[in-house]
Subunit: 226 residues, 2 copies
DNA sequence: GCTTATTCGTGAAAAATCTCACGTTATTTT
DNA sequence: AAAATAACGTGAGATTTTTCACGAATAAGC
């Protein structure tokens, strides 16, 4: 049974899985804000700037099914995605670095929507240690192993300056962390069995700049195309 | 000539372009931190967790070429990527929202590496207006059009709470913004000719959770596979 | 209840991407 | 200077992903 469940996770195209995250976010929004009951593949497509066919194909890998003329039932789809993403089981994470970025992350309210909770935030600045960020007290780095054990922490977010990121990563690996959520732009060198997810900001901007550049190129084509 | 240059941009596979951003970050790091002269496709591959073949294939779309036994010349490759990404021309951006996230972004030192500069940061909280974030003074929202005109701003980063994100987006669109860099987890509804890049944090975490779940599944297979 | 209009579901074709295998080439060694 | 070696470069094949086209299904209108 447990094996069956997990096989299910594996049978999506990787690209579909990526989009499922977007659908999850969008559907959460539709349900909470608009209290929408049904949604069309075409509406989803327009919001996410993909094609309706793509949306339907993606959903075809799920158990949920749509109704002609009405579309998909938002709550049903969301339930299935919640189950898929394990949103109901809460994962404790820790944040290393209590600068603006670390604090912003600690204050983020959306974690509960995806089954996560910030167990603690750490910094090595004596000035900061002991002060509060929301409901959390900033702790010294030496407390990391204790907190990791106590809350069964597997994921750590690195929010320290680039110059310290590798060092912090090494320390976390030493403590047996399973995944690093890296908010520094440093590309980290860690053992292969530790998951690394880079949240490097600059990549988004490079993408935008490129699209803007392309756009001005396209402009010259518009005469012919449109 | 200008057209030639731009055609060049268009002839990469999209997937390659995405990876070029990672190479850019990694090479910048190698040059600045380690002062490395040459780098092997295999080294790059290991750091980025892809295959050396993929790296070489990607580079084959560039003019730069590697040398057997030595690998690629870091500075040469980086020059070409800088040119490709337009890193030398500085793009002025504005930040809407001076909470922790907005401040973190405003303080980010890496923008110069990718040809960007924060022209101004805005908030609607009278308490915050007039106070400083690094070298920038927080301005009221009504100043946005003036700043946009003066600094030829095409890109705006939205760092406001989810509940205000759509409203801010509408306003920016009204002012003629060309691209929105969205740090809220709200999926925005804006005209199709406005570029939107979602930097929604939760997606990264969903990915990590999924990989952790997969990992424990894989564990049971390891007996057979390895 | 029958008809019509609309939207889903999905194989099959097309396109994009990745992997493989091996020839090529420059450095290093002898 | 020749041989050996290590790493690049790349076409061809395999795989993955997207698009297309159309049948199926169902809600709404008559």
């Amino acid at each position: 049974m447990s094996l069956e469940e997990r096989k299910e996770i594996l049978r999506f195209p990787k690209a579909t899985f990526e989009r499922l995250k977007s659908y999850h976010a969008l559907l959460t929004q539709l349900l909470l804000e608009e209290k929408r009951e049904y949604v069309l593949s075409e509406e989803i497509a327009e919001m996410l700037r993909i094609t309706p066919e793509q949306v339907r194909k993606d959903f075809s890998y799920l158990r949920s099914t749509g109704k002609p003329k009405l579309g998909y039932k938002v709550s049903e789809l969301l339930d299935e995605l919640d189950e898929l993403f394990g949103t109901r089981e809460t994962e404790n994470i820790i944040i290393i670095g209590a600068g603006h970025l670390g604090k912003a992350l600690a204050n983020y309210k959306g974690f509960k929507n995806i089954g996560a909770r910030v167990a603690a935030i750490f910094d090595n600045d004596p000035q900061k240690i002991g002060t509060m960020v929301g409901e959390l007290m900033i702790l010294p780095l030496k407390d990391i192993p204790r907190v990791m054990r106590r809350f069964r922490v597997r994921i750590a977010a690195i929010c320290v300056p680039e110059s310290a990121a590798q060092e912090v990563a090494d320390m976390l690996v030493g403590y047996g962390i399973r995944a690093i959520w890296n908010f520094s732009s440093r590309i980290l060198d860690v053992p292969n069995d530790v998951i690394v997810r880079n949240e490097d900001i600059t990549r988004g901007l490079l993408g935008i700049k490129h699209m803007l550049a392309q756009e001005s190129t396209e402009a010259s084509k518009q005469v012919e195309i449109r």
